[in-house]
Each structure stands twice: as structure tokens, then as C-alpha cells.
């Protein structure tokens, strides 16, 4: 199943995401104070950290939902929001940024399904409207994805008729339907009732096993331990510590990491 997600145009060994010295402020508050991070194709990176550590902001900077103030982020060889030509960096117009974003899937904390569309319509909206697929091809893929998240029987349900966990699984299917090179998960289980968290995490673990490149911002230590290739711990706008999950979670070096993790034991 590793061939599920193709890595067209990426040389092995190249980073799919390359963030350098990323700074971001909201008014007076500096949220990111110089983030460097490389994510290899097929890698699953889980970003942990206390609230306000800047992890969600960093994730949103990757697909330019937030513009960064300094530094650079390159995804699959393209700097989202900018074009480098003849040694000169230009800001891109909204339309060109929209095109760049089409290779990145995103799953939100609040699901953000389109409430006026059924589950199936939610999934086929971008493939048909943005990626110009035929309705037939898009629907076939959507039904396949619905089967994969275990919600075939909910294809014609509106989001409000679904539980939070079901909505989030539909949202994951919707993001997968654009065949993304990279998937961003912004606290995908934080808005869910505890008994619904498991079904979403199980879906995400499947994707991780299938070789999808994922950056996951979450509070689920268990998911980080089982599914992550690498755990990144952020605090106060910096990456404090990163490494294999068994190292960072099992034997944290930085006192902030230790303090954070102690709350989950």
C-alpha cells in the first residue's frame, strides 16, 4: 500500500517540507521565533507542545493560511506565496497561491465541512471544481475513500446529521480526495468527545502506515508514540526538542518537554 501516495518530482532524500528561520508575530506577540524543520517524503511528524507554543500557527504557515514575517517555507520545491525568479523573490497574487496550495491537504480542529453539502458532495467538491476531474472519477474515488474511513453508509448524510468523529473522518476523506503530497492535521481530535477520538486516530494511523507525508499537531501522546516517525516538541515559539518518539517521549532531555509530558502520565 506504500505506492498509494505518489511523490512525483521529488528526489529521494529531498525534504518535502523545508522550513528555515520562520518568524511570525501577531501584533506585538511573537508566536514563532525561528523555526527550522525538514520533513522527508513519507515521514509522519507529530508536533507536540503546550497551548500557545505556536504549533498550530506554524502548521497554518506551511500552506500560507498565515503569512510569515521572516524566513522561508518550501513545500515540494515551491515556496508557497512567493516565486523566486532570477534571484528576485516576488509575492504571488491570490490566484497563483491557490494553485500552489492544491497539493496540500488540510484537516481542521473544527472539521469545517461544508454544512450545505452532503458528505459525498463535500468530498468531490475540490476534485471536480479545483482539480478538474470528471464527476464520475471523483465520485468513484470518494466512495473508495468513504469505504476507507468506514462511512460508506453516510455518503448522503449532511454534516449536522453526523457525530463529531464521523465528521472528522469525512473531513479526512475530503482532504485525501485531492491526492495531496502533504497532509496537515491541525489538532484533529481536540474538538471531539473522548469516546470519538479513537476512530479518528485509527483512520490517521492507517494513512501513516500507507506512506502519506503527514504533519500532525495534536495532544494525543499515544498517537505520537505509535504512528510518528519523529516527534517535534515546541514551546514558546521554538522547537525545543525533536527525535524518534521513543527518545523524545521515553527519555526527554529538555526540562520543558519533561514538564509537559509529566502531565500525561
Amino acid at each position: 500500500m506504500t505506492a498509494q501516495f505518489s511523490m512525483n518530482g521529488i528526489e529521494p532524500g529531498d525534504a518535502l517540507v523545508r522550513a528555515r528561520n520562520v518568524h511570525k508575530s501577531f501584533g506585538e506577540v511573537e508566536v514563532l521565533k525561528g523555526i527550522d524543520l525538514d520533513v522527508a517524503p513519507g515521514e509522519v511528524v507529530v508536533v507536540l507542545g503546550p497551548s500557545g507554543s505556536g504549533k498550530s500557527t506554524f502548521l497554518r504557515c506551511i500552506n500560507h493560511l498565515e503569512a510569515i514575517d521572516r524566513g522561508s517555507i518550501v513545500v515540494a520545491g515551491e515556496q508557497i506565496g512567493y516565486s523566486l525568479r532570477n534571484g528576485r523573490l516576488n509575492k504571488l497574487p491570490a490566484r497563483a497561491i491557490a494553485v500552489q496550495r492544491r497539493q496540500i491537504g488540510m484537516v481542521f480542529q473544527q472539521f469545517n465541512l461544508y454544512p450545505h453539502m452532503t458528505a459525498l458532495q463535500n468530498i468531490i467538491e475540490a476534485p471536480i471544481g479545483v482539480h478538474k476531474q470528471s464527476r464520475k472519477a471523483a465520485t468513484e474515488l470518494a466512495m473508495e475513500l468513504l469505504a476507507r474511513v468506514g462511512l460508506t453508509h453516510k455518503a448522503d448524510a449532511y454534516p449536522r446529521q453526523l457525530s463529531g468523529g464521523q465528521q472528522q473522518r469525512i473531513a479526512i476523506a475530503r482532504a485525501l480526495a485531492i491526492r495531496p503530497k502533504l497532509m496537515l492535521f491541525d489538532e484533529p481530535t481536540s474538538a471531539l468527545d473522548p469516546e470519538l477520538v479513537g476512530e479518528v486516530l485509527a483512520t490517521m494511523r492507517d494513512l501513516a502506515d500507507q506512506g502519506l507525508t503527514m504533519i500532525v499537531v495534536t495532544h494525543e501522546i499515544g498517537f505520537a508514540r505509535e504512528a510518528a516517525d519523529r516527534v517535534v516538541f515546541m514551546d514558546g515559539g521554538y522547537i525545543v526538542e525533536q527525535g524518534k518518539p521513543e527518545d523524545v517521549l521515553g527519555n526527554p532531555q529538555h526540562p520543558r518537554t519533561r514538564a509537559f509530558l509529566s502531565r500525561f502520565i
Binding site: M106, Y114, P115, H116, M117, E125, G129, V130, Y158, I178
Partner: protein, 319 residues
């Protein structure tokens, strides 16, 4: 009470009290005061109708005689046509203004703001008269490069008929109000939805058309219904620029026959008839855009059917 089995409606188990206490079989109390109020209200209403029907001054035979007369129907046709055309143009311009007003582009948002400020800030009647008398201000209307050569030119008097003046006046005024209504609707859409369309790489136009506007419609439709009904009545203003709408037509008749009240009753009944139809139409549109919402009609119907299906056997058993 202690027995918590699902067969609560079956007296055979001996739990008769639970069956008696089943709220599905509860009777409504007879409320004398409510019935009395209903009776009094209906009596007063009947009496009121009786008085009006028998009042010679209303001239009901005249009303019936003129109700479907050709001149009245022609006026009605003009009123409806003007309303539809002016409203359609108003909505289109209003949508463009709303989007311009909300854009980050300073030039677009200032121009839209200026437009809305002017057309909402001056009386519609004045605007209509201005449009009708445009020829006194400008003899010619031409398309030209600023300070440069003229490309095309028309005589204002040929261009501005009562019809075009009425359409221009009503539509441009309506656009200013619709712009604010649409802007309010767009603002009511969850910011997460807009963010999602961005994350999925949708163009602004597609996001508006497919995701944002359909959701905004829920809060745009009710005030737009208001505007449409105001518009039907606002078209009566065009009688001042010699446009033969419904009101103008009945006025033309009573100026000859002096049957003022009966002729106005003809117009009033027609206006009420049209607005009633529009109210029904608005209900349908609101239900359409309310789909997927909790408590929308489709869900409610299913719930009712399910509830009915669940209660019916229980009632039968307990009897």
C-alpha cells in the same frame, strides 16, 4: 415503577400504573378562557367584515367591476415587470458592491462605500425625479475617454423614457440596500469555511459561488424578501414620473369617475395578493437554503414520522 422493562405499555405484566402514566396518552385540559378568547376574536372579526362588506361607501360592485379591467391589469403588469427587473438588476449590482466593499482593495471598497453612501442617503423619490429630468442636466450622454475623444453619444431625451428612468432609479437605489444585506450575509458565514476554501486552493470566485454564498443565503433571503415587498410598493412612486403602474392606473380611473376608495381597494387587494404569493415563495427558498441545518424541514418530517411510528402501537396496546 421499579420494573424497567421495555414492555411498559403492556398491562399483562401487571404494571398498569406505568401504562396509565404514559405521557403519550395524556389528555389536554379543556381551557375555557382560550375558547372564550377565540370566540370573542372571531365574533369581532366577523362583525368587522360584515360592516365593511355592507358599507356602501366602499363600493364593492365597483371594485369587482374594475378588478380585472384591462387598464388595471396593464398597470399591474407594469408594477410586476418593474419590480422584477429593478430587483434583478439591484441584486446583481448589490452583490458586486458587497464583494467590492469587503475586498482588501482600498480603491474598490471606497468606491463601493461611496456608492452606498449616496444612494442610501438620498430619497428614492428625488432619485427618480433626477433620472427622469436627466436631460435638463445633460443634453447628451456619451461614452468617451476622459478629456479625450468621444466614442459614442446619445440624446438624453431619447434614452430616458419614463420606463428607463424608473428602472434606473429603482434598481440603483435597491442595489445600495442589497449590497448591505448581502455583505451582512457574507459576514455571517463562519471564517473557518472561508479558510477551508483557501486551504483547498479554490479561487475566490468559486469559493463565493459554491461555498460562501449558499451559506450566506440563509441570512440574505429574509431581508431580501422584505426588500422585494418594499420594492413592489416603491414602484408606486413611479406614478410621479408618468409611468402607468398599478397605482397610476387606478388613479387615472378615479380621476375620471371620482370613485376614489373603491379604486384604491382594487390596488390594495392586488398588492396584498402579490405579497402573499411572495411570502409563500420566500418560505420555499428559505427551506431550500436551510437544508443540512439541524431542525430543517426534511429532518423534522423524518422525526415526526419516526415518532408517530413509535407511539402508535403503544396507544393501541394500552387501550
Amino acid at each position: 415503577m421499579s420494573q424497567n422493562t421495555p414492555t411498559l405499555a403492556s398491562p399483562a405484566t401487571g404494571d398498569a400504573e406505568a401504562a396509565l402514566r404514559d405521557v403519550a396518552n395524556a389528555h389536554k385540559p379543556f381551557r375555557t378562557d382560550r375558547w372564550l378568547l377565540w370566540g370573542i376574536t372571531l365574533l369581532v372579526a366577523a362583525n368587522f367584515l360584515w360592516i365593511i362588506a355592507n358599507n356602501q361607501n366602499f363600493g364593492w360592485p365597483v371594485v369587482f367591476q374594475w378588478f380585472t379591467e384591462a387598464t388595471v391589469l396593464r398597470g399591474l403588469y407594469v408594477t410586476l415587470g418593474l419590480t422584477v427587473v429593478a430587483m434583478a438588476i439591484g441584486v446583481v449590482i448589490g452583490l458586486i458592491l458587497a464583494i467590492a466593499r469587503m475586498s482588501n482593495d482600498r480603491l474598490a471598497s471606497s468606491l463601493a462605500g461611496l456608492y452606498i453612501w449616496f444612494f442610501r442617503g438620498t430619497p428614492l423619490l428625488v432619485q427618480l425625479i433626477f433620472w427622469y429630468n436627466l436631460s435638463t442636466l445633460f443634453q447628451e450622454i456619451s461614452i468617451a475617454i476622459p478629456f479625450g475623444p468621444t466614442l459614442a453619444s446619445w440624446n438624453t431625451n431619447d434614452l430616458i423614457t419614463p420606463m428607463t428612468a424608473a428602472i434606473a432609479g429603482l434598481a440603483l437605489n435597491e442595489a445600495a440596500y442589497m449590497a448591505e444585506i448581502i455583505r451582512g450575509g457574507l459576514l455571517s458565514v463562519d471564517k473557518g469555511q472561508i479558510e477551508t476554501t483557501e486551504a483547498f486552493g479554490m479561487t475566490r470566485t468559486r469559493a463565493l459561488r459554491r461555498i460562501i454564498i449558499p451559506q450566506a443565503m440563509r441570512s440574505i433571503v429574509p431581508p431580501t424578501g422584505n426588500q422585494l415587498i418594499s420594492m413592489i410598493k416603491a414602484t408606486s412612486l413611479v406614478s410621479v414620473i408618468a409611468m402607468a403602474d398599478l397605482l397610476y392606473s387606478v388613479q387615472a380611473v378615479y380621476n375620471r369617475t371620482f370613485e376614489v376608495i373603491p379604486m384604491l381597494m382594487v390596488a390594495v387587494i392586488w398588492y396584498l395578493f402579490i405579497t402573499s404569493i411572495l411570502n409563500i415563495g420566500q418560505g420555499f427558498i428559505e427551506r431550500y437554503y436551510g437544508r443540512g441545518e439541524r431542525g430543517s424541514s426534511t429532518v423534522r418530517k423524518q422525526d415526526k414520522v419516526a415518532a408517530a411510528a413509535a407511539t402508535v402501537p403503544a396507544v393501541e396496546v394500552s387501550k
